[in-house]
Structures are given as C-alpha cells and as structure tokens.
C-alpha cells in the first residue's frame, strides 16, 4: 500500500531540507534567467532558505493542494514581499516567477529517488507537487504585477500633482502652462484649479499655454474647449497660446473648431493681448502697467 498523497513530499521537505536548498540554489545560479547584476548570491541563498523553511512549516500543518489556507499565510506573505522587492529591483515577471518554478526540479529528483520503480505513486506525487509549486508560482506572478501597478499608480499621482500649476502673471491675468497629455481626469484637475484661482484672484483673463502638450486630438481639443467655457462662465476670457505648426495642422485636419477662442502662436503674443485687454477694461490700473 502506497503512503497517503503528499506524505513523501512532506518527508522530503522536512528531512532533506539542506540538500534540497543546495540543489535549488545551484539550479537557480546556473539558470539562464539568473540576474547576478541585480541580486547577490548570498541574498538569493538567504531568500531560498527562508522560503523553504516557510513551505515546510506550512506543509506540515496545512493542505498541500490548496495553498490558500491560514497555514500558508506566512509563505504567501513572504512571496509577496519578495515579488515586490524584485519588481522594484527591475526583475522581469518571468524571472521572478522562475524563483518558485525552479524548485520543481530538485523536488522531482528527490521524489524519483524515493519511489524508485513505482511509477504510479511517483506520477501521483509529482502531480501533487507540480500543482502546489504552480500555485505558489502564479501567486508570485500576481504579487509581482500588483507591486508594479502600485508603482505606476504612485507615479501617476505624483505626476498629477506636479503638472497643474496656475500662475498669476499680472493683475487680472492668470497663466496655465500645460505640460503632457490631457486626459479627462487631468482636465478635471486643471479646470478645478483654474476656476479656484479665478475666484481667489478675480482674474479676468487666463492664458492657457499648450507648448508642452505633445499632441492635440479631438478629445484633447474638447477638453480644452470645456475648460475655456467653464472659465467664461466665471467671467474670465481665455487665450490659448503655444500652438506649434504641426498642432495647428492637426487641429484643422481634424475639423476642430477653435474659432470662438482667441488663439496665439506664442505665449508672448498672448500676454501682450491680455495686457491690452485688461488695460482697456480697467482704466484705473493703467498706472501699474509698465
């Protein structure tokens, strides 16, 4: 009678941990996916050792087929940490997953030695082991992606904060230098900060400078026009400046109608127009002008 499923695997994990670890580290060091430039051998060995001992503890208490129970929490936690740190170090997803998958070979070697000629039992045990390692590997890959996503989200937030300054240029004149692509979320932020600034300063003209906007498609143009209309509702005229030749061409080819808005090629021209308009409107401030 063959031993119950998983018995042999547990035995290997418990009794020959040291040899298993040696084989595993050796396999990882000789693998083509080794990144000795990103991680030292000592660190790799330490990670492998810690993971093996966590797996051993988990395998003793919990199910081998379902590594989602509470017994596996520590091992999962460890894998998540490893994935995150590797994501930050610049490993690729497959390189990170290989860390777990490379455990298969040393395990299989040992299983073969245990079972010898009993092909039936060997196949069963190998299947069980494969499933376990696969699940752990997939979990690693998922954690890796999650780590990457966190990084991307953080950078997006930082970019959002960086990219929307509203500057007071002169009495009653605001400038809004836009840098980077305008999506609807960013437009919302830009619009809100512009309107808020109009209330605070009582500005009557705002210059939206799009020198730093790489491309203007219909969507971006629509967002710009929305911002202009909202500012107009607050009683502030808008001038769009910094339109590069290529962008002028695209705008016309796309059939975007900017005829309701004053547009200027350069920021300096827009500023000159703004000065003129505020002067005409508010004659009592003539003295403040240069």
């Amino acid at each position: 009678m063959a031993p119950a499923a998983g018995q042999t695997l547990r035995k290997i994990l418990t009794q020959s941990q040291k040899e298993l670890l040696n084989d595993w580290v050796k396999a990882q060091l000789s693998a083509s996916s080794l990144r000795s430039d990103l991680m030292k051998e000592g660190e790799l060995r330490e990670q492998s050792r810690e993971f093996l001992s966590l797996v051993q503890v988990a395998a003793e208490g919990g199910s081998l087929i379902q590594p989602d129970g509470s017994h596996w929490a520590a091992a999962r936690e460890f894998l998540a940490r490893v994935s995150r740190s590797r994501a930050q170090q610049g490993f690729s997803p497959s390189e990170t997953a290989t860390f777990v998958f490379s455990l298969k070979q040393p395990l299989f070697t040992r299983l073969r030695a245990e079972f010898g000629q009993d092909a039936q039992a060997l196949a069963d045990e190998v299947w069980l082991t494969t499933e376990l390692v696969d699940r752990l590997g997939l979990f690693t890959a998922e954690a890796f992606l999650k780590g990457r996503e966190e990084i991307i989200q953080r950078q997006q937030r930082e970019m959002m904060e960086l990219s929307t300054p509203v500057v007071q240029l002169w009495d009653n004149i605001l400038a809004l230098p836009l840098i980077g692509t305008l999506d609807s979320e960013r437009t919302q932020v830009v619009m809100e900060s512009l309107l808020q600034k109009i209330v605070e300063t009582g500005a009557s003209i705002s210059i939206i400078d799009i020198t730093g906007v790489p491309t203007v498609d219909t969507l971006v143009a629509q967002h710009l026009l929305k911002t202009v209309s909202a500012a107009r509702l607050m009683g502030a005229d808008c001038i769009i400046s910094g339109i590069r030749p290529q962008i002028a061409q695209t705008i016309v080819h796309l059939g975007v109608n900017l005829s309701e808005v004053t547009t200027k090629a350069s920021f300096a021209d827009a500023f000159a127009v703004a000065l003129k308009r505020t002067q005409a409107k508010l004659p009592q401030q003539l003295g403040a002008m240069p």
């Binding site: 109009i198 209330v199 929305k226 209309s229 909202a230 509702l233 009683g235």
Partner: protein, 122 residues
C-alpha cells in the same frame, strides 16, 4: 409663497438668488422678470447666482432662457457669481450659456452693463 426679489437700480434690474432654486421658483422668476423689464423699461438685467451651489439641467436651461427673453426685450443680461463647481457642471451638461454675458462678481457685471449703456448713448 416665496419669490425671488427683483430690485430696480436706475435702468437696470438686479436679481439675487438667495435660496435654493427649484423648478417652480425658476418659472415664477421668468414670468416676473419679463413683466418687470417691460414695466421698468430696463436696459440691463444682472442675475447674481453666487449663493447657488447646485444646478441641474433644468435650472441651467432656465437661466439661459431668461437671458434670451431679456435680450428679446432689449435688455442685456449678465449672469454673475457662478461658483466653480456650478461652472463645471454647466459645461459637463453642455450648457455653456452661449450668448449670455458672464462676470465674476456684481461689481464686474455692473461695469459690463454700464459700458454697454455708455456705448449706446455715446
């Protein structure tokens, strides 16, 4: 029944919306205002909605309707004191109040109206 007061200032009418504008109130205002414009031979209407924090599409449409009616009666309409959030909502609703003049506050709105009166007289 509550009503939105319409004040006469020289040749201008001043409407300040101090309460939450609901549909019935907006209809009433439309009726009162057109009558007052004719009765007072007003040349300009200034609508201050600075205490309005929420607008829906109906109120937005009413504001632009009122302005259009006033224009037919030869009175220039200036809407002043639109809050940032209200401005964003109106734009998102596609109501950018075309043809209605807007200003940041009552002061600026008054300047706009007077400019027009001076331009016509001069």
């Amino acid at each position: 029944m509550e009503k939105i007061p319409i004040l006469k200032m020289g040749r201008f009418l001043l409407v300040t919306v101090q309460v939450d504008m609901h549909d019935q109130l907006a209809m009433q205002l439309q009726e009162d205002l057109t009558e007052r414009i004719v009765a007072a031979r007003a040349r300009g209407v200034l609508i201050d909605i600075s205490s309005l924090e929420v607008v829906d599409s109906f109120i937005g449409r009413m504001i632009s309707n009122i302005a259009a009616m006033a224009r037919v009666l030869d009175a220039e309409t200036v809407v002043v004191g639109i809050q940032p959030a209200v401005a964003v909502t109106l734009v998102e609703l596609g109501l950018s109040l075309e043809g209605v003049r807007t200003a940041l506050n009552v002061d600026r709105g008054m300047v706009l109206l007077q400019e027009r009166l001076i331009a016509e007289q001069g």
